[in-house]
């Protein structure tokens, strides 16, 4: 161990090789991979990167990376225990690298030292020698290591006893995952051992490693253990880097890339492309999506949540059933700490099987539309809930609106059900039919009663007129004083339809209306946390019984607040909840407003 | 001490006898066969709960072990008379004479003779059997074609002899639909790989649990239901049946080959009922069954004072209704006896 003698020679030992090679290979791999993915973006998306690169958005991304990738703020919000675990790991390791680097720079009085130098600083640093604030740095580094070791303890606990974290299920692992997990878990304990052994031999370190070194020296032959420990530490790091791209830990670098791209405005389109790959690889498999998924909580289906679906995509396993087995309620997307476009990616993986020719839907006649200021499109499903239509027409009449009911007789589907099933090309044909009808109405505002239609009108139709869900329209009428409502003596809870609340962000308008016409009971399902009724068209795998189970569980959840009425704002939700809610009536907001 | 003579020892007769005897009435039960149970003796399992018909029959038989009940097995009544005192005199085939205050006709039904639907080839084509014969096969747990092969495709034909102007039966026999469903399920259990079809005009699932059983037959047991009446069947070289129906829900004629065809034979008024009507001057309904005085309130009464009717003598009914009808008849008779 002659290296300890202070010389001017370069700090090097063969044991740094595994780490260095691993790091170089990893960085090389990532560069190639990201380049390939980004290259596959559509042109306009790539343009966004160029525009966003030198803007404020980049700084904002940095902040978000700090907040999410290191502190795991979103996970904290959902599950503090889980957040803490992720934070100790990510932020701890980050600090270890940064503080270690500063320490090495202070010691070396130069920013340029080999990358491994900071990592193996305790090995190369002769203990007898001191440098400015070396005691402080040693203390700091030990503190961070302690922090990390606690994180590992938590992770091990979570793996073997997930209930402590309030999680019913944790992600299931395959052998490869277990291997890299073990490597990751071993890295810091081994670093701890290596540093402690070195300290035990040569002194140095602080409260943790120094004391541990002294302790170990009492009964262990540190002479022969210290050097292999450093080899092991380096090898573990190298191995981890080599395994990383093919494991869940790919999310660590990819999530950062995703945050940049997201902030620069890159969007997930209808196609599955490199951006989708980046998102799929950004999934940290935290498993939060499993617990929010009603297929899990009501039907005990545990193979289709985004974490599993994405794992299939990553591992190139069969995923056709998982692509379809989803209500597309968006509860997972709403709670995803990384903010991945879970629904859009799944939808892009649904096969487009309809053959589109010039004859497709050619049978749809062009209905005669009376021009008016407001065009009302009830939607297919609303025709099965005539109460909603009747109420809306009453509201139009009451407020003397200049309106036209465009799908009164021969309405066709809005096209979203087709899109939801993956048949985007056919959906566009239907959308064209409706576009012509909407154009013919010459309206300034398009009001619809169906959130499914609403979402596609807003997102896919590219209309240059105002699109409103009837709850928004009613809210506007009330605000403008055109519609006077009285508060009914009814206790209500609000079931915000998936497509309306989470899907389109319409939260305040319906709640405000409901508060004015009834005594709305606040629930934990308010806003974007609403449940799915189970009637979603998007899932073609579960059967009627399972849908009914979801519906009845949802009704049960609302019934716990003992409302007089369950209020929703979607014909499909109304029918689905109405199917199982035998005690409590289910009504649409419009119906309540018409009564008030 | 009041005495009631019951003609017919099927389920209705047995149950009425038991109920009356429990009320302290003397009962003379006349049955032409050497055992009681009537048509129930031909059944293997009951719908919709698949209970053993024999178990129920045994209970009904045990109930007849009653000091108040006199059994006359293998006996048929000759000319019945009502004397001036209003007593019924019933001479039996062995020469004995019964005398009673009231008469209960529980002469049941007759199974439609499938030969009358010539175009279905019963009695001519070897693999055409009736639902009654199928029950017998269930007893033996063996479903075979005449040549000993296992049938690969079976068709069950509903409404054979019911709702058919061509055999002068306008009435619905009520229990064939559910019998068809039950038998299809039993067939499926014995023959997991056989295709089983039911050809129906309407599915009349009137009883509790019947519709659910129909649903189960479709979903769980994969029984295929075709709405269409068999027009004709013919035998091919392999002794299979080539059938022609219209798949009315499709609007096209449907041809297929069956290995075995089961005719769900309906109910007709029994010989006994007609004889009783003849000898006592009872009114008959247009469908040939004994006419109740009133279909709602006095459904066990006939046009002759003191003569009551229970079970399938008055109309086709399932076993549940038959037993209930028998109890109802017992009540009516009690009421009558108190009055006289």
């Amino acid at each position: 161990m002659q290296q300890y003698e202070y010389t001017n020679k370069i700090y090097y030992d063969h044991f740094v090789l595994p780490f260095t090679i691993g790091l170089v290979v990893l960085l090389g791999y990532l560069c190639v991979k990201y380049y390939k993915w980004i290259k596959s973006f559509p042109k306009e998306e790539r343009k966004k990167i160029r525009k966003g690169l030198f803007s404020f958005k980049t700084i904002r991304s940095g902040w978000e990376i700090f907040r999410e990738s290191l502190l795991h703020h979103n996970i904290f919000k959902t599950n503090p225990m889980l957040g803490y675990m992720h934070m100790t790991f990510a932020f701890g390791w980050f600090l270890l690298i940064v503080v270690g680097k500063i320490e090495s720079m202070v010691y070396h009085t130069s920013a340029f030292n080999p990358p491994y130098f900071a990592i193996f600083f305790r090995y190369f640093h002769p203990a007898k020698e001191t440098f400015p604030h070396s005691e402080f740095f040693a203390f700091l580094m030990d503190l961070i290591l302690t922090f990390l070791l606690i994180g590992i303890l938590l992770a091990v606990t979570k793996r073997f006893c997930s209930r402590i974290f309030g999680m019913k299920k944790t992600t299931k692992q395959r052998a490869y995952d277990l291997l890299i997990l073990t490597v990751l878990w071993l890295i810091f304990p081994v670093r701890f051992l290596a540093e402690s052994f070195t300290s035990g031999l040569n002194g140095g370190g602080s409260f943790l490693t120094h004391n541990a070194g002294n302790f170990f020296s009492g009964f262990l032959p540190l002479e022969s253990l210290s050097y292999p420990a450093w080899w092991l530490y380096s090898s573990l790091l190298g191995l981890f880097f080599l395994l990383l791209p093919f494991s869940r830990y790919m999310h660590i670098p990819t999530e950062m890339v995703y945050i940049f791209l997201k902030n620069w405005g890159v969007k997930q389109g209808k196609e599955y492309n490199g951006f989708s790959e980046i998102q799929v690889n950004s999934c940290s498999r935290c498993g939060i999506c499993i617990n929010t998924c009603q297929l899990n909580t009501s039907c005990n289906i545990n193979d289709t949540q985004p974490v599993y679906f994405f794992r299939r995509l990553r591992n190139h396993e069969e995923y056709a059933q998982q692509a379809e087995d989803c209500l597309m309620c968006g509860r997972c997307e709403n709670s995803c700490p990384v903010g991945i476009n879970l629904n859009a990616i799944r939808q892009s993986k649904r096969p487009d099987i309809l053959r589109v020719t010039k004859d497709t839907y050619a049978y749809v006649p062009q209905p005669e539309v009376k021009p008016a200021k407001v065009a009302y499109f009830a939607g297919c499903m609303s025709h099965l809930t005539p109460g909603i239509i009747k109420s809306m027409l009453q509201i139009f009449e009451k407020t003397k609106a200049d309106y036209t009911f465009i799908d009164e007789k021969a309405g066709v589907c809005c096209g979203r059900p087709l899109a939801l099933s993956g048949n985007w090309k056919a959906a566009q044909v239907v959308m064209d039919k409706n576009l012509q009808m909407i154009d013919a109405s010459q309206a300034d505002i398009l009001v619809t009663s169906c959130p499914i239609c609403y979402k596609t009108f807003k997102e896919d139709y590219l209309l240059n007129i105002k699109v409103m869900h009837h709850t928004e329209y009613i809210d506007m009428l009330i605000r403008e004083g055109k519609l006077k409502v009285n508060a009914l003596d009814l206790k209500t809870v609000f079931h915000n339809p998936c497509e309306l609340g989470r899907g389109c962000g319409v939260v305040e308008a319906p709640e405000s209306v409901l508060k004015q016409v009834s005594q709305k009971i606040p629930t934990v399902y308010d806003g974007k946390k609403s449940l799915c009724c189970g009637g979603s068209l998007a899932n073609t795998v579960i059967d009627a019984t399972q849908k009914t189970k979801i519906s009845s569980d949802t009704v049960k959840a609302y019934a716990a607040y003992q409302p007089d009425i369950i209020v929703t704002a979607c014909p499909l939700c109304k029918k689905t909840l109405g199917k199982t809610s035998l005690e409590i009536p289910v009504k649409d907001i419009a119906e309540l407003v018409a009564e008030a | 001490m009041a005495k009631v003579i019951i003609i017919g020892g099927g389920p209705a007769g047995c149950e009425a006898a038991h109920q009356l005897a429990n009320q302290g009435i003397d009962v003379e039960l006349v049955e032409k066969n050497n055992e009681t149970g009537g048509n129930l003796n031909n059944w293997y399992q009951l719908f919709p709960d698949r209970k053993s018909a024999k178990d129920l029959n045994d209970i009904l038989k045990q109930n007849l072990n009653h000091p108040k009940i006199q059994l006359h097995l293998g006996m048929e009544p000759r000319k019945i008379e009502k004397n001036k005192e209003g007593k019924f005199l019933v001479p039996l085939s062995d020469g004995s004479l019964l005398e009673g205050d009231s008469l209960l006709i529980s002469t049941g039904f007759k199974i439609f003779d499938a030969r009358r639907k010539e175009e279905y080839g019963y009695g001519i084509y070897e693999n055409v059997i009736t639902s009654v014969e199928l029950e017998n096969m269930f007893y033996n747990h063996s479903i075979q074609m005449v040549n000993g092969n296992t049938p690969k495709r079976i068709g069950i034909i509903h409404c054979v002899g019911s709702r058919d102007e061509k055999v002068c039966n306008y009435h619905c026999s009520k229990l064939c639909c559910i019998t068809g469903v039950k038998q299809a399920i039993e067939l499926r259990e014995l023959l997991p790989d056989t295709e089983i079809f039911c050809f129906y005009m309407d599915m009349r699932m009137f009883g509790p649990g019947y519709e659910e059983m129909y649903r189960e037959a479709q979903e769980k047991y994969n029984i295929k239901f075709v709405r269409g009446r068999l027009s004709e069947a013919a035998e091919n070289l392999n002794k299979q049946l080539q059938i022609k129906v219209e798949d009315t829900l499709v609007g096209k004629p449907l041809r297929m080959t069956l290995d075995m065809m089961i005719l769900l034979v309906g109910m007709e008024s029994s010989e006994g009922s007609r004889q009783m009507a003849d000898t006592l001057g009872l009114n008959l309904a247009p469908n040939g069954f004994i006419k109740s005085q009133d279909p709602h309130y006095r459904n066990n009464n006939t046009n002759v004072e003191g003569v009551f009717v229970a079970g399938c003598g008055s109309a086709p009914m399932n076993l549940t209704d038959t037993l209930a009808d028998a109890r109802s008849a017992a009540m009516s008779i009690m009421e009558y006896i108190k009055r006289i």
Partner: protein
């Protein structure tokens, strides 16, 4: 096939057939396409069975073809038929025996109509009187001529020179009995054996030593149907019916088809040629087709008549294979010669059907 079951049904469908003194009503189609049949029938009745049959040359078509084609109104056909009854009455006969199944069906239908609507009968009597000054009595007995042959099948069997047996192997010949639709499908009780399992032709076959094929499409119409055949656009439908029957009977290897309806005999015979020309398919053995006989021809063959004398050369499908099987000797040279030994012309050779 359970023969006892069938016989059970046959027992239920027996009808009264007069013993003697028949008024004969000819068939348009039969006398045109199978002229030897009616001659043979009359010859058998008179000379073999010694029955009194009158063949009145004054009787006309019953106009059934026109009636079923919606050209002739019901009153007209009834009056025409009433005239036949009048001729019968005038001749002192009471038993009507039409040769044609369509006529038989029409007579039955008219008598049934008059039975239920005497006022119609009165009206027709008036029409007939106005038109011809004739009066009539309704026949006491109405039977198709095949019923008559059926009635005397055992007497014929007693006089038979040949049996329906393959003389080379001793195997009973397999016959397809094709019953005209209007024989018993409209009035099942008017046909021997009813509509489902008619026994009129099978009774003859069994009596003369043959065997009957019961194939799945046994009941199916030959496809003639006046409107189907007379309108060219509908002929494809007509021929499809016969084809369905041929395909169904083919696996049973029939030796011959016998029909009691002249139209059926004609179409089942001629369509075999049409199908072979259209699709290249032939039925029967060795590409010869299945010989189709009228029941009169079958009877005559059994009784030993000369095949060419009873007009078998008029058939599209060659009957020689059947004659060979039955062991009937015939002169192939004489086939297309008349009684005087003159050529009557030879038909063009079909492309696929062997002759």
């Amino acid at each position: 096939m359970n023969l006892e079951g069938k016989q059970q049904i046959w027992k239920d469908y027996q009808k009264e057939i007069a013993d003697d003194r028949y008024f004969y009503a000819r068939s348009c189609i039969r006398q045109t396409f199978f002229p030897g049949s009616e001659w043979a029938y009359l010859d058998i009745m008179k000379n073999k069975l010694a029955k009194d049959v009158i063949d009145d040359p004054r009787h006309t078509t019953c106009t059934g073809i026109g009636y079923h084609s919606d050209i002739v109104p019901a009153e007209t056909i009834m009056t025409v038929v009433a005239r036949h009854f009048a001729l019968m009455t005038e001749a002192g006969y009471e038993n009507m025996t039409p040769s044609c199944i369509t006529s038989f069906g029409i007579y039955t239908e008219i008598l049934e109509t008059w039975h239920h609507h005497p006022e119609v009968e009165e009206k027709i009597r008036e029409f007939l009187w106005k038109a011809t000054k004739r009066e009539f009595k309704k026949p006491r007995n109405l039977a198709h001529t095949s019923d008559i042959i059926y009635k005397f099948r055992n007497e014929i069997a007693a006089q038979a020179k040949y049996k329906l047996v393959d003389v080379h192997t001793g195997r009973p010949l397999r016959g397809v009995d094709h019953i005209g639709c209007h024989y018993s499908k409209m009035f099942p009780t008017k046909g021997i054996g009813g509509a489902e399992f008619p026994a009129v032709l099978s009774g003859m076959i069994y009596a003369w030593g043959g065997d009957v094929i019961d194939y799945p499409e046994r009941r199916h119409c030959c496809g003639f149907g006046f409107r189907q055949y007379l309108v060219m656009a509908n002929r494809g439908y007509s021929v499809a019916n016969s084809k369905k029957k041929f395909e169904s009977m083919q696996p049973y290897e029939p030796d011959f088809i016998v029909a009691n309806c002249p139209g059926c005999a004609m179409f089942m015979d001629k369509w075999q040629y049409t199908i072979s020309e259209m699709e290249g398919t032939t039925y029967g053995q060795d590409g010869y087709g299945i010989p189709v006989l009228t029941y009169e021809e079958l009877t005559a063959l059994v009784l030993g008549y000369d095949p060419w004398e009873i007009g078998l050369q008029m058939h599209q499908v060659s009957v020689e294979p059947l004659l060979d099987k039955m062991g009937i000797s015939y002169n192939p040279e004489a086939k297309f010669k008349n009684i005087r030994g003159e050529d009557i012309g030879v038909p063009k050779c079909p492309t696929y059907l062997r002759v």
